[in-house]
């Protein structure tokens, strides 16, 4: 279990804490999302959890090992992938990997080589780090994070700036990591990615923990809008749809607004009443609205 208790961080010469008494847990075989507005404290939380930044207060424990008191052992269990991977820009991937492998406790270089191969970086190993694209840099960051075969991964905005192929690769890797028994804490602005990948979502706002929601619950809460296109939109159809929420019509299209709308139930009701459902879609923006509502409540 990766466990954070009462984590706070106030930067020098800053009055307000960047992170204020945050506690959270990430278990094995679990993908947890961490969402929040810019400056909410997501990155700081992850940086503290991997030992890059020192906390002002609080504890980080990995499988019972305190990061503060057993840094070397604890860090072996954590892999960190920053949003903007930064390494010596003039060093080649090979030299960086040799150095990190040695630092990570004499990990055989073959391990790193295998990871480079797996992440499609074998052809780039002689390149200087500065020559890589953001996507390749991010892949290299995963290679470095994976050197010690950690049990937990901390991913900071892993989908930012990636092309669709890279995003699919990362998504697949996250799912595979969970299946392999790893725990993943993932901060992201991409709420749909969070929703599709995470078992739980934690909301952080202004450095404070706001709420923890299970993915299924999130989906239920988030789907406040449904758009239906039927073969005929008569008053009976409207009355039927009004059972699920507030309805507005335009031609053969009806938009339903409400909380916890189940698209399956709407579809069944329409079909049983003799209507032909030509299209049924949830509103993509609703997750954001839900998130904003949580933030507003917290504010």
């Amino acid at each position: 279990m990766l466990e954070v208790t009462g984590l706070s961080k106030t930067y020098l010469l800053r009055h307000d804490p960047a992170v204020d008494r945050v506690s959270l847990q990430v278990g094995p075989k679990e993908v947890v999302g961490l969402i929040g507005l810019n400056g909410a404290g997501k990155t700081t939380t992850l940086r503290i959890m991997c030992g890059v930044t020192l906390p002002s207060a609080g504890e980080v424990e990995v499988d019972g090992l305190s990061l503060r008191h057993h840094k070397e052992s604890a860090s072996r269990l954590i892999g960190w992938v920053p949003e903007q991977p930064t390494h010596d820009p003039s060093a080649t991937l090979t030299s960086l990997l040799r150095y990190y492998s040695d630092l990570a406790g004499e990990v055989p270089y073959g391990v790193g080589e295998g990871l480079l191969e797996a992440w499609g970086l074998a052809d780039h190993e002689r390149k200087h780090f500065r020559e890589l694209s953001l996507g390749l840099k991010r892949r290299f960051a995963i290679v470095v994070a994976s050197l010690t075969s950690p049990r937990y991964y901390l991913l900071d905005e892993p989908f930012n700036g990636l092309d669709p192929v890279a995003m699919a690769l990362f998504r697949k890797w996250i799912v595979q990591s969970r299946e392999d028994g790893s725990g993943v804490l993932l901060s992201s602005h991409n709420l749909n990615e969070v929703q599709s990948l995470c078992d739980r979502v934690l909301v952080i706002h202004r450095g404070r923990f706001v709420s923890s929601v299970r993915a299924a619950e999130l989906a239920r809460s988030a789907h406040q809008g449904l758009t239906v296109v039927v073969d005929r939109l008569d008053p009976a159809a409207v009355r039927l749809l009004e059972q699920f929420g507030e309805v507005s019509c335009a031609g053969l299209t009806a938009s339903i607004r409400g909380t916890g709308i189940d698209p399956g139930r709407v579809n069944t009701a329409l079909v049983q009443a003799g209507y032909v459902v030509r299209q049924l879609s949830t509103d993509e923006g609703n997750l954001e609205e839900y998130f904003l509502r949580l933030v507003e409540e917290a504010t």
């Binding site: 890059v52 840094k71 860090s75 930064t86 820009p89 990190y100």
Partner: protein, 473 residues
């Protein structure tokens, strides 16, 4: 050892480290060639002769060993023979350069020009007149050479202190002081005495700057006169003029003094190399975030900072040591005498000490700023200030605080300067090699204190950097 070795290999592969080491080797090779050849067997004198021939005009003559001065540095000497008689024959060395084996300055308007000259040649240090009768530079060192004159630097005797004659227990009421001023080598009294006022206590200081065109002359005769006009005692005080041709005042140059030509140059390069290597090994990584992925690995902060410190030190120290060895190989080309092993050991120790100091300062500075370019530029300026501009700064600062530019101020300056404290080890050893001449700065005569200074300067910055890194980051 393994982390240190790993970091050292990494640091040594860094292009900046390679540049730094090449710079050190080049400096070791080239510096002796810049030094003037030592005169084969002719003794070189060092002494000061001063005379005041009117107003604030002050002519100053100093002889220095040839090995102390870089070849080609234009140094002119304008020696006034006006009102001079009875002394040894004087040379007019106007327009001379150090190739003649003499170091001399002409300060006809010392209030402005000398300050700049001194900065350029780094030829400032301690000259004072604790006892007006011995206005001799007790020693001087190539680039550490000084006279304080009117203006920025205080050299002229500014006051006459009347003390207790052996046979006078108290000051009779109505006692006054009369002085008679003559030019150096001039006719002794009788002359027209001038009264400086009543003597009410002993010792008592009287300003003597405003005695007229002949004031501050080389000889002042003063008398204490009581109320009835009877002279209590007559005293003669002489300024200046130690005969530079007197063999007893001679200093024979040797490799030690030549070596000192190289030391300040190499010291500057060592400090620059330390900044460069310390910055690329730690400072840059810390400021651009390259240290972050390392911190996320199974590495403690203590291990990281100390191993990188040791690695930087190993790279710069090795470069400096190699530079010193090359210097040793190149020195015979310009020197007639061998340098004892003690000096070489001291030289290497001093450069390694200096590297330790500056690497530590870079590590500390990296925790006090957020801008890499600001850090680098600031450190280079800092190094220049400490190695090249320190002495004038101390004097100017001291005077602005109302302090007299004295040896104690100079000592304080050394205590405050990490670069000087390390290199002063070499100065100490070189002076010892020169036959035990007294050092200008009293602090420097104590090797224990010197070592303590260097160790303190080396340990405190890296310790602070470590503590900051450990508790607040």
């Amino acid at each position: 050892m393994r982390p240190i070795l790993r970091e050292t290999l990494r640091a040594a592969r860094n292009p900046a480290a390679i540049v730094a080491v090449v710079l050190l080797l080049a400096t070791g090779t080239l510096t002796p060639r810049l030094a003037a050849p030592e005169p084969a067997a002719s003794p070189v004198y060092y002494a000061v002769s001063a005379n005041y021939s009117g107003g604030y005009q002050f002519n100053f003559l100093a002889y220095g060993s040839a090995g102390n001065v870089l070849e080609g540095v234009p140094i002119s000497l304008l020696f006034y023979a006006e009102n001079y008689s009875g002394g040894p024959p004087l040379k007019n060395l106007s327009g001379a350069t150090n190739s003649h084996g003499f170091l001399a300055f002409d300060w006809t308007h010392p209030q402005c020009r000398c300050g700049l000259e001194m900065v350029v040649k780094r030829a400032i240090y301690d000259y004072e007149l604790p006892d007006p009768a011995s206005s001799i530079l007790t020693s001087f060192n190539s680039f550490v050479f000084s006279v304080r004159s009117e203006g920025l630097f205080e050299s002229r005797p500014s006051q006459l202190v009347v003390g207790f004659p052996d046979d006078v227990d108290s000051v009779p009421s109505g006692t006054s002081l009369e002085v008679c001023v003559t030019s150096p080598g001039g006719t002794p009294p009788p002359c027209t005495p001038r009264s400086l006022g009543a003597v009410t206590e002993l010792p008592q200081a009287f300003p003597i700057r405003d005695l007229g065109p002949q004031s501050d002359a080389a000889r002042v005769h003063y008398s204490l006169v009581n109320q009835s006009g009877a002279t209590i005692g007559t005293y003669n005080v002489s300024y200046g003029s130690l005969d530079p041709t007197d063999p007893s005042n001679a200093v024979v140059t040797n490799a030690g003094s030549s070596l000192q030509t190289a030391v300040p140059t190499i010291s500057f390069v060592v400090a620059l190399a330390a900044v460069l290597v310390g910055y690329t090994t730690y400072g840059r990584d810390r400021l651009n975030g390259s240290l972050d992925p390392v911190l996320a690995l199974p590495v403690t902060r203590r291990r990281l900072i100390l191993s990188r410190y040791a690695a930087s030190l190993a790279v710069v120290g090795s470069g400096a040591a190699m530079g010193a060895v090359i210097l040793g190989l190149a020195l015979p080309a310009v020197s007639n005498t061998p340098v004892p092993p003690t000096i070489w050991i001291g030289l290497i120790a001093a450069f390694v000490g200096e590297a330790a100091i500056f690497v530590g300062l870079v590590f500390l500075a990296a925790h006090l700023t957020r801008s890499g370019s600001l850090l680098l530029v600031g450190l280079v300026l800092f190094v220049t200030l400490l190695t090249l501009l320190w002495d004038p700064l101390v004097v100017v600062l001291g005077r602005s605080l109302g302090l007299t530019a004295t040896r104690s101020l100079g000592s304080t300056g050394y205590l405050m300067n990490p670069a000087e404290s390390a290199v002063s080890i070499v100065g100490y050893l070189a002076f010892r090699l020169d036959g035990g001449r007294p050092l200008l700065i009293p602090t420097l005569t104590n090797p224990g204190l010197l070592s303590a200074l260097v160790v303190t300067w080396a340990v405190v910055p890296i310790l602070l950097a470590w503590v900051i890194f450990q508790v607040r980051d």
